[in-house]
């Protein structure tokens, strides 16, 4: 588990939930996150020269300045300010199922929106172009990718206006978006993926086929992962209003196996396709998702 290996102290989602605006949340998360990085591994892809440094074994040979070597007979590497022109598209699931949330903490939608805002803030700060597509069974909001300084506000305003309502059809908007993207970049899917896994995976592979890297944040509530209910309960589907009467003690094992199988299937099949898959429990810090994003971004550039 990636968050278990780190010793960083991240913001608890419960704390984040109490912060005021989405912008404040995003800035708090990202600034705190970046401050915690003592030695960023994500330098080296900017176009603006920063400094020369003597070569040390392990440095990328492509960064060696051969002209300096010719003049001085010594190896120097060039350091640049971080700056790219990566196009990032954040796909946020706003279907009814994302409205579920435990009593204390963020709902999956709030968690996803917060994550999208944080990613947007981070991307904007790194001068990547960031776009947002919100969808349920159709695309409900779309903001094209841009790296303009004012674009972040538009993204945050869009996120702020989103509401969950309808049923999910993840595959359909994925295919729609894959068809519209012309430039290689990065797609970040934030969803609970409670839909047909085969269709979703097929949609994600569509991006791969178009040469677009994909990172999937599978957002699930602790209740969905642990099923802590203890008394006979009538469960009502958030999207279809379908009801199932169940005795948790009797169905827990079956449910946990089902959800475990689902997660494992996504992890296995997406991993096999080169798609990054990250299961996010809404009670875990958002910064872990940022770390995962940055790793994927580095690979995409």
């Amino acid at each position: 588990m990636p968050w278990a290996a780190t010793e960083r102290s991240f913001l608890d989602p419960a704390v984040v939930a109490r912060l005021g605006t989405l912008e404040l949340k995003a800035r708090t998360i990202v600034e705190g996150f970046l401050t915690g990085l003592h030695r960023s591994p994500f330098k080296g892809f900017s176009v603006e020269f920063a400094e020369y440094r003597q070569y040390i074994p392990g440095d990328d040979l492509s960064t060696i300045d051969w002209k300096v070597y010719a003049r001085s007979d010594r190896y120097y590497v060039k350091k640049f300010e971080e700056e790219t022109n990566l196009d990032c598209h954040i796909l946020l699931d706003v279907s009814g199922s994302m409205a579920y949330g435990s009593h204390h903490g963020l709902s999956k939608f709030e968690y996803g929106a917060c994550l999208a805002a944080s990613l947007g803030y981070l991307m904007n700060r790194q001068r990547d172009a960031v776009g947002l597509t919100a969808f349920d069974e159709d695309v409900v909001a779309m903001l094209p990718a841009s790296s303009r300084p004012g674009h972040l506000r538009s993204l945050l305003v869009t996120l702020d206006r989103l509401r969950t309502a309808h049923q999910t059809n993840v595959a359909k908007p994925l295919h729609q978006l894959a068809d519209t993207l012309t430039k290689r970049g990065l797609v970040v899917l934030i969803s609970d993926l409670l839909d047909d896994p085969a269709e979703i995976i097929r949609g994600l592979k569509h991006f791969q086929f178009r040469g677009i890297d994909v990172i999937v944040f599978h957002v699930l509530d602790p209740d969905e992962l642990e099923f802590p209910f203890d008394r006979a309960t009538r469960f009502e589907d958030l999207e279809t209003s379908e009801e199932v009467m169940a005795v948790p003690g009797a169905v827990r094992d079956h449910y946990l196996k089902q959800i475990g199988d689902l997660v494992e299937r996504y992890r296995r099949e997406l991993g096999a396709s080169g798609i990054d898959y990250q299961l996010l429990n809404t009670k875990h810090p958002l910064e872990l998702a940022l770390l995962s994003y940055l790793s994927t971004r580095a690979r995409a550039l």
């Binding site: 579920y100 509530d221 969905e224 008394r231 469960f235 199932v244 009797a250």
Partner: protein
Amino acid sequence: MSFLAPLFLVGAAAAALPIVLHLLKREPEARVKFAAVKLLKHAPVEHTEKRHLRELLLLALRIAALVLLALAFARPFFPGRAAAATGGVTIVALDTSYSLSAPGQFARAKQLAKDAIAGAPAGEAVGVVTFADEAEIAAKPVADRVLAASAVDEAGVGFGATRYRAALSAATQAIGSRSGTIVVVTDLQENGWDAGDRVSVPDGIHITVVDVGAPPPNLAVVAVRPQPDRVIATVHNGSPNARDARVHLAIDNRPVGETTVSLGPNQSSDVLLAAAPRGEMAAVSVDDPTGIQADNVRYAVLGGPVKPTVLVVSGSGDLSREAFYVQQGLAVGPGPSGGYQPVGTSGAQLSTQGGDRLATHAAVLLLSTRGLERRGREALAGYVRGGGGILIAAGPDIDGEVVADVLGGSSTLRMEVPEKGSGVFSSVFRSEKTPDPFSGTRALAPADVRHPVFQAFVPNTGSLGLVAFQRAARIDGTACQTLARFTTGDAALLECPAGDGRALVLASDLDNRWNDFPLHATFVPFLHEAVNYLSSARAHAFEYLVADAPRGVRKVPGIATINDDKLGGPRRVAVNVDPRESDAARMSVDDFQSAVTRLKDAGASEARVEAREQEDRQHLWQFLMAAMVLILMSEGVVASRTA
């Protein structure tokens, strides 16, 4: 089923707790809007009916456990058959004493008993008790009256004397905690109540007396005293008219003489039968075909000591000089053989001879410890420990320490005897004004009038108070029972256990030195009752009443042989009927009823005791607790499957 502590059944209301808790804690059906409902769709769904069944079973088990707990604490039991019967009981108590042995008398009594059985209220159980000296339940109370009637048919007149106390006690026991009636079929002999006899009967039991009628005119042989050259018999005429009585003497079943004596109304007379009594047994009979039959003959053993001996230990052994009153008092009297034969000895002689012959004496009177050395003390101690009785008169010749040696450590007797002559225990340590604790005239008052020693004085025990005691020893003992006290509060007569025997300790002498007891009419009865009591633990007599016949001897008049190892082997004894039963004096029904004490709530107390005994025997609460544990274990299993 009944309960010993029915209040605990209130605890069974706790069985409602699970239901109440269920109702109180019942929550509206939980509804949760959930995202992953589709993952629940194919989950194995538990059928509601099955779960409801399990929950009902759980509820039932929990309620059952609580109910069983309450039942166990209520101590249930099944009442016995007798107690379970709700109807009343009639017990017919039939007198079988020998006073009914006159021709036709007992047949009439049996007919009256049968009439009482037939006349018992319908639906009541009827039982039969036969009684004389002792009572016996001849037929337990049942609804079938044929059984009761056949028990009456099988009853026969015996040789015992009438004892109403035994009859009423047995009848009350047979009735138990129920209400009922005791029908006493008897000839209402006055002697049926012993002096001071009282019997307690629960208030709910009614007593009816059916009078069989006075016995016909009767002649009875009430005493036989063999002498070296003749046999003296006492014949009693119980009729209101003068009669001539023809008296016969048989020795070893051979007629050896007869004579006729004229007796006035209700008069007794000694009859001299001049025949040398050579043989083993004598039987004196009187011709009385119409009167009571059982008292027409009386037996006596020939050849043995006529009177039981009492060893009197005095200073020199000369009883005529040192124990005159005791000697004379023992020799006369109303004992079975006309008193006791005092045998005098001194402490020195006893110390020399040891205790080889002590066992032959009915009792020992210790009047002096002078010269009583260790061997003599040990002989006396062995005699008492072996079941003998000793009367100690703590007079001027008694040393308290020697007495303590004789009685052994278990008696805990302490005795302070004033110094001889001076009347001062220790003048050195006492001022002139301090009164002598041993001096001063005082009287004696029984502390326990029910004790056999005072049997002869009941109800006039005050006559003992006429004796003036000028001096007395101080006696005390934690293991001793105080039978009488002086008017000063000090103990006057103690009974101390010592081994298998017993000791009576009088705090003064018996020789008219410190008191005038021997000069009073109460002296001889006291002496005889004390010796009777002390000797009762040992079988020394050669004549027994039927009721007192030793173990192994049939309770019928005649000559019997008993084995007495302590007296050197078998010996012959005479068994005779109680002459008091020949007394035709009768009492009224009211007199009979007045001797019965009514106990309120006695029935309820008996019922409680019986209920407790039944519950103790059955121990149903243990089974209930075991069942509760099993149910709780089952509940655990079912609950774990339901969870």
